[in-house]
């Protein structure tokens, strides 16, 4: 009996909406995470208590204890020597909210999942899969802590870029998994658009290029490349640094920025090619709109990227990061609509 009710359009819509809301929460989480890095507050909480850490400091004693702990790390000694408690609180809140939002997402996944499973509103095969995503979400918390702990190393004032990259891509995996599941619940039967097989391959290639460009972006962000633009030395103006590509893929600022730009141009060209090809193919309206959306988002993304580079405004960098995630989601949406394309 539950098996049958799970397949009703109302229940499918309910589950899909829930999962889309969760995907939206992950997107917001990327924004909070970006803001946390933006304000340099990621290292302000020196411990990880998955459960009781949800409680904010409530009295002066707790604040003093946390602040005393912060004073022991190199970031305090190198960058914030002499900071008062109010300054510490400003560092503390973004990181605290970032962690709290993570816990909230865990609840938003777990509680409705139990409820839907108990009332038979969700397909049985989705239960273990979503339970696995819950566990992976917990793992993402652990990866976050693994990343933060690298910021406490001697002489270090920020986390290691590769750990930041890992944390970001774990988030992208979770977002992609939740979004794809939501879309599949929404339309379980592939639309199988005719004559779109080549297009689906091209879209997949564009998707891979986007992932690579985003990977490059995490390194630009990890090394704080936002202030690096300098036309006088050619950093960020698009000319390959001396000795490129062996000029320090993961260490040299000019190389990291150039690689991100190169990958971004390739991804942009590929995505625009997908848009143009799809629209000229006159596909069904949802496919056409999905293609128009990636075209617009990639233009916006390129403009935001150039703007972040030249303005050195970290807030625009965060918006650029959030738009990258939207673009990734939009590309997954197109890929989903192209499922089962025939030649």
């Amino acid at each position: 009996m539950p098996q049958n009710t799970a397949a009703t359009p109302q229940n499918r819509k309910l589950v899909a909406t829930w999962l889309l809301a969760l995907a939206f929460m992950i997107w917001v989480m990327v924004g909070i995470g970006g803001y946390t890095r933006d304000t340099g507050s990621g290292l302000s909480i020196m411990n990880w208590d998955p459960i009781i850490g949800a409680l904010p400091p409530l009295n002066g004693d707790t604040w003093n204890k946390l602040f005393a702990l912060y004073k022991t790390i190199p970031q305090y000694q190198l960058l914030h020597q002499g900071m008062d408690l109010d300054g510490f609180k400003q560092l503390f809140w973004p990181e605290y909210i970032h962690r709290l939002w993570g816990r909230l997402m865990g609840l938003v996944l777990l509680l409705p999942l139990i409820g839907f499973a108990a009332t038979g509103r969700i397909e049985k095969r989705l239960i273990p899969w979503l339970a696995l995503l819950f566990v992976l979400g917990g793992l993402q918390g652990a990866i976050g802590w693994f990343m933060v702990s690298s910021g406490f190393f001697p002489d270090s004032t920020a986390v290691e870029p590769w750990r930041l990259s890992l944390h970001f891509f774990a988030a992208m995996f979770l977002l992609g998994a939740v979004l794809w599941t939501a879309l599949t619940v929404q339309s379980p039967e592939p639309a199988r658009p005719a004559g779109c097989k080549g297009l689906r391959r091209l879209t997949f290639a564009a998707f891979i290029l986007l992932l690579l460009a985003m990977f490059g972006g995490t390194f630009v962000s990890g090394i704080h490349g936002i202030t690096a633009f300098d036309p006088a030395t050619g950093i960020g103006t698009g000319q390959p640094p001396a000795g490129w590509p062996m000029s320090g893929i993961f260490s040299d600022t000019a190389t990291i920025i150039f690689d991100h730009q190169l990958l971004a141009v390739l991804a942009t060209v590929a995505i625009l090619a997908v848009t143009v090809q799809t629209i000229r193919h006159e596909p069904p309206a949802p496919v056409r709109d999905a293609a128009a959306l990636i075209g617009l988002l990639v233009i916006l993304q390129f403009v935001l990227g150039v703007t972040a580079l030249v303005s050195k405004m970290i807030d625009i960098g965060v918006v650029h990061q959030m738009n990258a995630v939207l673009l990734l989601g939009a590309l997954l949406n197109l890929l989903h609509r192209l499922r089962g394309s025939t030649a």
Partner: protein, 350 residues
Amino acid sequence: MKSDRALGNWVLILACMVFGMTIGGGHARTIGAGFTIQVWRPFTGFIPPHSAADWAYLFGLFQKTALYQSHPISLDDYKALFWPMFLDRCWGRLMALVFLIPFAVFLIQGRLRGKRALWMGFIFLCGAGQAAFGWYMVQTGMQPGVISPPPAWAGPHLGSAMLIFFLLVWTGLTFRTPEPVPVAGAARLRRWATASVALVSCTMGFGALVATSNAITVFNTFPTMDGAWVPPGMFDLHPALLNFIQNKATVQFCHRLLATVTALTVLTTAVMGLRMKLSPALRDNFLLLAGLVALQYLLGMTTIVLGSANLGYVHELNAVLLFATAIAARHKLRGALPVNLPQPLPAAAE
């Protein structure tokens, strides 16, 4: 009116030649060659200087300009500046020939008659006026203290060139397809396309003022103007209207603001068009429009941040292509109908 492809193609070739003229004029401006030829002989000026005396005469006239007096150059450097400007003027004369010879042939053949002939004659007069205006602009070089064509002259010079360009593109397309093709349910899209053409024109107008007032040398930051969203000193000149012609801060601010509004409007128009069932030609037109406007915005950002006049020149040429694409889209929507055409009832299944 019946369609005449040859007639249309002739007018479109003239439009392409105006684009060529923009290439030449923009280049002359970029290298600062505008004041090099201080004579205007409309009919015999195509003969290049060939004796030392010719050169001495021309160079002597140039030596009277404030530009030369503030930045003296050698005769060889003068020749290097002279040739691009000379070529630019010859191109204008070539355009007159490419206009007049087919014009005469079409008249004799009787393919061009009545209103169409009068209209083309009017466009020719516009072209002649454009040339005369250009000459008076060049003459300002003889005024004391004027070392480059003043924005109040050079801005309108590009503006009127673009007006002629618009007339040629529209007329050429109309000669090719005189009867508007009905496009069901596209009345709103047509209004957006009209707004796109109008906004692209206005943005180009301020772009011309940015180029001619040399505003590229200030506020080389994006998105703010040296940290301010609205730059200081926008109304320093009196009368206030003058600020919108030659105040670098004001014209650059207006150009940036209009460019953003234009880009958003054009992209919206393109997306609206692409989401409708349109002919493949119109669909591709909208794809190109979206691509060109995105490229144009990026070129503009890059130009101002790097303060590069050469990139500004590319930005100017892409603007003309964008303008042409917007005009073409609007032209294909002449036959837009407010609602869907009544659908014939489906034939009953036999």
